[in-house]
Symmetry: C2
Subunit: 279 residues, 2 copies
């Protein structure tokens, strides 16, 4: 249960006015080149927002990435801005650093999100349904090359999850980018740890950038903004994921993601705005 | 220049700590059934964030809709959370009401956004470009039925802009929903007022919901969250827009938008999470 324990938060005693404060630790091993993966950080913030809103599911969450989060003690402040009948909306800030002497605390991430309870929102109760789309068509897990963590690429946190990439998109195994800005694959946490809706915030940011398959050299694409919509609680088992970039313009790119669960249901959508790596 | 003047803000004298305060008025005529259009409200907030960050363009902006904004005096508070080399990130709150006796001020909208300068980010300077997609193929403006504001539908604010809908998507003119959750059309502000990147925040939320063409009865789809990415400053002239919903599940739907300018360039993308109208 490494993911659950490595994203845990504990309520700090020093409540500041309307703001609830949570202490946490950014654990090492979840990083890419020394900076914690964005989805991992967002999951930590999600746990604090879940606690502060007393609602279990992150229905929609947006993160702005302000500075890299490095392993060490960190703090999440959460302010509830509206508590409604179905959703509670909150803003949250993740600050890290301040651990070693002379190091200042820095804001790493600014988040806004609406939390609710997705358990009751099944097809039977939620009225009209329409699905234009399907899970990505993936060969069986064992026929999809697995990303194994290395020192730089694949990043070390790959060892704490199971990512199996569609053979057509697995440039790291074949040596050939597909030519399409598309990455599809299977996702599961390490040790078959069950995933909850907070874990989906990690899943949607755990794949290598789709643009690698479009021939953009492998590089860090700094995320400016990341939004996830969680549509349903995932059934236990493997998730089928698909990430695609359609527009690389003006130095920006968007990446859109879809995550489907074992039962064939869409459980999350994501979109991020990132910066093109400088040549 | 109605749009520019109706979204204007003025700096209030009472700065509260790190928070800059702007006074504004939510003008009547921009509403849908008495509640101001979300994109109009977001444009007001955008003007305040533009002023507080001293950066001209809303590169990415996310709004959570907390309560309806009704015509009358309103206030925007803006806190800059990071001022970087290329972008300044801020959070902002729109509060309205409090004008008539005994009426409390209510938070109408919570926003987070990153502002920058898109002028320098042309194709020539921003490196690798890749565009998978094209502006919607629209017949000439005069062959596309125009939405003219009425009392309820089309909403009154249609009279302050020019929306011409693709004949295939113009159920209001033909009496036949197309069967596809898609609305395409031409957009221009009223009186050919030029549009800036703040105006794009309005454009992306000015069309009727795409799901009307999928046979969902015309109804208010309350927005939970709305994110716009502004990719470039629009050239003067008509904008070509396209809005689509692919997934209506669990009582939620997303709507994705694209806005292209006269030069054939993608200038904005949007995605919102909304609630399905209750039957």
């Amino acid at each position: 249960m490494r993911f659950a324990s490595d994203t845990a938060v504990r309520k700090a005693s020093d409540r500041r006015g309307p703001v609830a404060v949570y202490a946490t630790d950014i654990r090492s091993g979840w990083d890419v080149g020394g900076n914690a993966n964005g989805g991992y950080l967002l999951s930590i913030v999600g746990r604090a927002m879940q606690a502060a809103t007393a609602r279990p599911d992150p229905v929609t969450v947006t993160a702005h990435f302000l500075s890299p989060g490095r392993p060490g003690p960190a703090e999440v402040t959460v302010e509830v801005v509206k508590s409604g009948r179905s959703f509670t909306t909150a803003i949250a800030t993740l600050s890290s650093g301040g651990s070693s002497e002379g190091e200042a605390t820095r804001r790493a991430m600014q988040v806004v999100g609406a939390f609710g309870d997705l358990a009751g929102r099944s097809a039977a109760t939620a009225g009209f349904q329409r699905v234009e789309g399907a899970p990505p068509d993936l060969p069986p897990v064992e026929e999809c090359p697995m990303l194994v963590g290395g020192e730089v690429f694949p990043p070390p946190f790959m060892n704490w999850l199971q990512l199996h990439i569609h053979p057509d998109d697995a440039w790291f195994a074949t040596g050939r980018p597909s030519g399409e800005a598309l990455v599809r694959g299977w996702f599961r946490l390490g040790d078959d740890e069950p995933i909850d809706t907070i874990g989906l915030l990690f899943a949607v940011d755990s794949f290598p950038p789709a643009i690698v398959n479009a021939g953009v050299p492998m590089a860090w694409t700094p995320t400016v903004e990341f939004t996830a919509h969680v549509r349903a609680r995932p059934e236990p088992g493997w998730l089928r994921c698909c990430f695609r970039t359609r527009f690389i313009t003006g130095g920006f790119l968007e990446e859109d993601g879809e995550v489907w669960d074992e039962s064939g249901r869409l459980v999350a959508q994501s979109r991020q705005l990132a910066l093109l790596p400088r040549p």
